[in-house]
Symmetry: D2
Subunit: 485 residues, 4 copies
């Protein structure tokens, strides 16, 4: 068996080639050589009148051109381009095997990606296709929406209900005999999008790739959908490779999940919009608490291990935050330009202040906590919220400090309408991609269009708020915050 890496570059099954009209496009790997082509069942369908998507339809990966280096935000883009070659994905390295990582000096960002959507020719026989769906990592608004839409679209293709199975509790469900896969029917998923969480259950259990591929083979799974973050995508890539080397003809398609919105290239991750909406409520609560109290200080800790997107966006949306701390931007507490001096001025003006901090901020400054590890032995973040609370108590002796940590309440809610549509479109795209014979791909919205991306492309590094980029500038010019350094 062989994944079709024609025109691939190095060992990645990914290529930036020049299409007929001179465009530089990233192709996605396929299993088409191993599978039999057949016409899409939608050709005959009355209700799908809009035609199909061509493999040569393509979506711009960049929709902006900068006049030069001095243009706002351009440096962050330049950085992106430059760092593309240099980044080492430490995290993925730890989680999966070394060789799923991009080689050093790897690739240029190509101009175009392949468009997502239904193909006229498909490569699985729907009535005989077995499908498995797995949600991995932390919960995030939209998991049930994605699961529901995967099931619906698979059934629309003609896959029998008895052939669609849900893996329980993330990768654990491949091997845990107490939690066997469950069959997923149209009826079972009918209203799950109205609930938060995931009906399949999830976990952060590390994937034992060889065992998983054995089960895929044993259970005759033709298509595996993995809804997960960078770790989950890296696992999907590793499973793709293991399938390839063990001649298990299973198409692996990821739906990228990250409540932190820290995935490269993709306009936004699903659940992010919902999370910002809910996070804002916590900020408003902090504002009410702080402004009602004598010398009130409200501190809100939000999600964001490596990236401050939720924190920045929620602060920007609320319009009432005085200072924001994120992992990407260093800060000092003391000194004339420090956070404390700044907030003291705010307190004098307004009588109170509100601070938002992303959970991954200031990790290097926390010296009074013992390092912890999670169930899987990975290092856990120090608690910057509690640390800040203590620092504030020491500095603002008479202040009434309220500390809010709404993470669980944010992660567990059902999706907003926007995320609901987005999840559905991603899932449909994933199903179309799998039936089109692609493997080792992930689905994403890029410059407002849905497209397919080879997994390695998006997991090379976490996407971050650029300290000199547009988003951070917007926030700063909006709330008037200096850099505390």
């Amino acid at each position: 068996m062989a994944i079709d890496r024609r025109a691939t570059f190095g060992s990645f099954g990914v290529v930036a080639d020049a299409a007929d009209d001179g465009d530089n496009i990233i192709h996605c790997p396929t299993l088409r050589n191993e599978l039999a082509a057949r016409p899409s069942p939608f050709i005959a369908h009355d209700y799908f009148g809009g035609g199909f998507v061509s493999d040569r339809d393509r979506v711009c990966l960049q929709s902006i051109k900068f006049a030069g280096e001095r243009s706002a935000g351009s440096r962050s883009q330049d950085n992106l381009q430059a760092r593309w070659c240099q980044l080492v994905l430490r995290e993925a390295r730890t989680r999966v095997s070394e060789d799923t990582l991009p080689p050093q000096g790897y690739l240029h960002l190509p101009d175009y990606a392949m468009r997502s959507g239904p193909r006229e020719i498909i490569y699985h026989n729907p009535s005989d296709t077995h499908i498995a769906i797995c949600t991995v990592g932390g919960i995030c608004p939209g998991l049930n929406d994605v699961v529901r839409a995967l099931v619906h679209k698979a059934l629309d293709y003609g896959v029998p209900e008895s052939n669609v199975m849900g893996i329980r509790y993330g990768f654990r469900g491949f091997t845990d005999r107490q939690h066997r896969p469950v069959q997923l029917t149209r009826r079972m998923v009918e209203e799950i999008h109205l609930e938060g969480g995931t009906v399949l259950g999830t976990s952060r259990a590390l994937p034992v790739v060889s065992e998983i591929v054995k089960r895929l083979d044993l259970w005759k799974i033709d298509i595996l959908f993995i809804v997960g973050g960078r770790g989950g995508n890296a696992a999907a890539e590793a499973i793709t490779r293991e399938c390839d080397s063990k001649h298990v003809p299973c198409c692996v398609v990821a739906v990228p999940k990250s409540i932190d919105n820290d995935l490269l290239l993709i306009d936004k991750t699903f659940g992010f919009e919902t999370a910002v909406e809910e996070a804002q409520k916590a900020i408003l609560a902090a504002k009410v608490e702080a402004s009602s109290a004598y010398q009130g200080i409200g501190i809100v800790k939000l999600m964001g291990r490596q990236s401050g997107f939720i924190t920045v966006s929620a602060a920007l949306a609320s319009g009432i935050v005085d200072a924001v701390l994120i992992p990407e931007v260093k800060f000092t507490l003391d000194g004339e330009k420090g956070l404390f001096a700044y907030l003291e001025r705010i307190m004098q003006e307004k009588g109170h202040c509100v601070l938002c901090v992303a959970e991954g901020a200031g990790q290097d400054m926390i010296t009074d906590q013992a390092p912890k590890t999670d169930l899987a032995g990975r290092p856990e973040l120090m608690d910057v919220g509690l640390w800040l609370k203590r620092q504030f108590k020491a500095r603002f002796k008479n202040a009434d400090i309220k500390y809010i940590e709404p993470t669980c309440m944010i992660r567990s809610i059902p999706t907003t309408a926007g995320d609901r549509v987005y999840c559905k479109m991603l899932a449909h795209g994933a199903v179309h991609g799998a039936f089109a014979g692609f493997t080792g791909i992930t689905v994403g919205l890029v410059n407002t269009h849905y497209c397919y991306l080879p997994i390695p492309l998006i997991i090379q590094a976490p996407r971050r708020v650029e300290a000199r980029g547009e988003l951070w500038n917007r926030l700063r010019s909006s709330i008037g915050q200096p850099n505390f350094e």
Copy 2:
């Protein structure tokens, strides 16, 4: 000057006398002897066609009769009656002066209280009346509703806008020169009920009663409204007495506030309904987290220093809680009948569980935390939530434990419609009571009717969930929880 304590009992300005028809009724103290009577301005008003309330209208304090001691809930009521004589209000004792407390062996629960509402004869000249409004203690949904309705009704009586002042940051605002009272106009309060918190600001600063009364005298305040909890009511009582002894003819009327709903006699406190509504959302979040995780345990810590009302009501409402811990009911963690053994069984059945705990529960069991005191030097509660989280981690080694503490998010939200109406009615009653010349009273809903109660009556002890009473039984029979002992 003399508060009218005709027919009072002891030094309390409170009496349970026998009305003309043999009913045993609690009268409220008045300053009528010191003030000039005049007709209510509403007599002429076209728009107030419903007549006035008489001082002899009365409201039952008990609307149930038990067949005997064996009837469910009767013992808790009997206890109430019995304990009426014995309770020592430790807290009030600390907060105010010793002599505001009820003497031992004080009184029987009378049958009736006076009805709240507009009187035909009033004792302040509206055009010449000065009013001060003060919110004290922690924030609670509805404070702004109450402030708004106090202002509106005072203006309806004909008090000039220039005569209505708001005291800033609780009792602190009487003496803090940096935060002088603010004038409250109709326009200023127009939309404050749509926001949480209190526009006046609040604090837990202890009242310096003599200083406060000096300011009342200096500023010529005729009516002082204090929106506060048991502490605030005790302070109101102390201020009433100090006014009496210093011959400052100011009517002091409290609006009882307790998000915990722990006030004696009153059907429910304002903000409680709102708090339960919001608390439930945190419980649902915990459920989603727990059920989505492998061996998920959701722990929600809710408000309730001495009383479990919010915790029990929110758990009852949610319909998805497995166990509830409150201050009123002892529990053990270990042993066959302990919480852990119980939850292990639940985990085996369902794969996950959800626990709600009131912040005041299990205080005597927490041995690993140093006692803390708040800004005012009062002892603070130990953190039962974090303690439980640690205990659970030690016991359920593979469990995925999510801990949610939504207190600030609950306290700071705007009111539900029910609370909105309730706040308005309480505030209107308070204004009517003050114009009727009453002092040292508080306003409350008792058996669905609004009435006036002498302050000492409701602050003798916190109201509690009776361990053998109806509410706790309802919860237990609803969720099937044993007592963990």
Copy 3:
């Protein structure tokens, strides 16, 4: 067979007798003579430690005493007492048979009712009891909560899951062969309280009493729960009587439902709190529309065929309504004291205004609509909202009129926490009452306590907002509205 009407008065199975201690109490009819007594299964249960409720526990039906006729609200109460004898329940008369109606000159309002709750002796053998649940009439928030709690409590008693059935689409489901009853399991009802509407379906189909009783007999139903309004309660009473005359030993227990809150004696109906909460949102929308427009007028039509409770409560809660029209209070549009002249003044002051109208208001003034009848041939209300809109357009020629009718959006939402608890308690009370052998009863909260009431007592007339009573006065004094007459 005979319903136990010992000590009943006339043909009603209802009596106001003098209990041992001289109290005047309304007893409820029972089938105990026909059934075998046995101990409650909860006696042994560890988890129900609070004891049982006695048949002699009683709840006050009146918790206020007026000084005299001049006291605000007293006349409305007097009216209540007086009208108790005179009212003819036209509606129930039409819906069911003549003889379910109270005889003229019927009864005095007694002092006490029986308390709801678990009895120590029960009269059905749980393991052999068959139960049917039926929701009738329009939808209302809380129907699913009630159904869920009925099922849960029945299962708690020990009724097998296979013995609990749900009747589809109201009374229609007794005879419609296409919609047979469904079995209700714990799993099926697990999350239904999180959704609006009713999982059983409902309809306004008239009950064919004889056919229903035949099915109760055929299907060996021991307990029938009917969740319905005055019509549904009247039907429950008729079914009770038909069971009696046909010797079908089925206990019929109603759970009273009325989103309009128009049931006599009961503190509030379930779903009402939720409806007011949601109605308020429509009012706020109208305010935003009106105040953003040039000469904006917002009109909101709310529920309330005969009673203005929702309209008055939502208007009171919102704090931003300028005028309210309800069925109970006549109004004129024109003339110096008319609605138009009043709103013109408001428009001049503020530039806009907001009006709330209950659907049943002003029916006698609408002359430009043809009378309509519903599916069952009953007269439908004229559309007062559209009529008002036209009248306003004719009068306020340049105004920008926005008309909002949120009824469906209000009726269909899930319950607030308060209603959620309330529904649960009502349903538990209903199950306890049925097992205690009562029949022809309904469950309600009276003066903050749950009690059982013979059905005829509450269906004699719709409860109404008294034009000279407290609620209407509160509204008027709160918004400053005159009577438009």
Copy 4:
């Protein structure tokens, strides 16, 4: 005076020229020739570290390339390109003067637009700049957000608070002596984003362009912001031209508003996301009503005079709609392929159905309503909702039909977090654009980047859901609906 139309094409102040690197870019007209250049105040600002945007930064107007005509959605795009030359903007023609319209055979869609953002060189002296803000047309979530952010950013530039004025009630406020402009201070706008509607008021009054320009001159307005839809943008263009011809050096910048999301080129309009979120609630209500009733049919009428975006998006998000009708797609009721036959099949399967209809759908089919005109004499839409309701009643005789029209409740709510950020960014971009000396421009998000567009470009025609395009196909393949023709 002369607007700088160097390199403009025809009379539009718009040009698609070839930038240095061969890109085809649309320039925006400026008043720079008339104004004095000076450095941006942000150059010195510590807190704006991200640099400036260059006039030569550019944003792609197309971020997708189709393989060919057969690719799904390509024809709609081709249409767009083709129709670009042919469309006649009837509406704008009626509203403003003939010559603001694009000439026939006008332009090709260029490749790039200018990027929005702060320029290093500005053309107004902030301390001496007078600004007017005007909201026109119907209300839409986000108006207050936009007004607030315009004020904030203008003050950030250094404009004195006394120089920022709000025009009342749309264009009417320029000439209505009873509603003079109001000064807008930081304090006044502080919390307006938490409320729906517009604090300035709005109206659909037609602009009298010459009178408006007289006032701009008289009041010495340097910058005019108009927040409005296609009509408002057309008016902004006409005012720009009148300013030009009358030598009034005022920069006119529009912020495009359309709750229907029917503006060309722009990713989405502000308020749309919020509207879809809220619309979905109405759909869920319809689902609950329909599924709880016997043969229930829920009909929801949503906004969308010419475009079905809200209807399609809300239906797609809800996941529970059976059929959707929009203005862009013809339908028939009767016949084998008609709506009725389709819904009959759905009713047989499920027992109920839900239909969403955009207000502009089926206008040519409604023959039983007299045409109406609005206050300004423009034709109003027929009420397709009531018409459908009647048609359904005639066809489905026993069905229980619920009709919901939530428009006012949708338009009046505050913004979601996403819209809140979006409004802020648009408004900031508008202020930057005005200070950069641009005039006759509008601000928009295009392919995820903010850019400036000459007004004529976006008002040529309403954007529509393409009957053969992606969105409609997504909906149809998601809900399985055929075309009813």
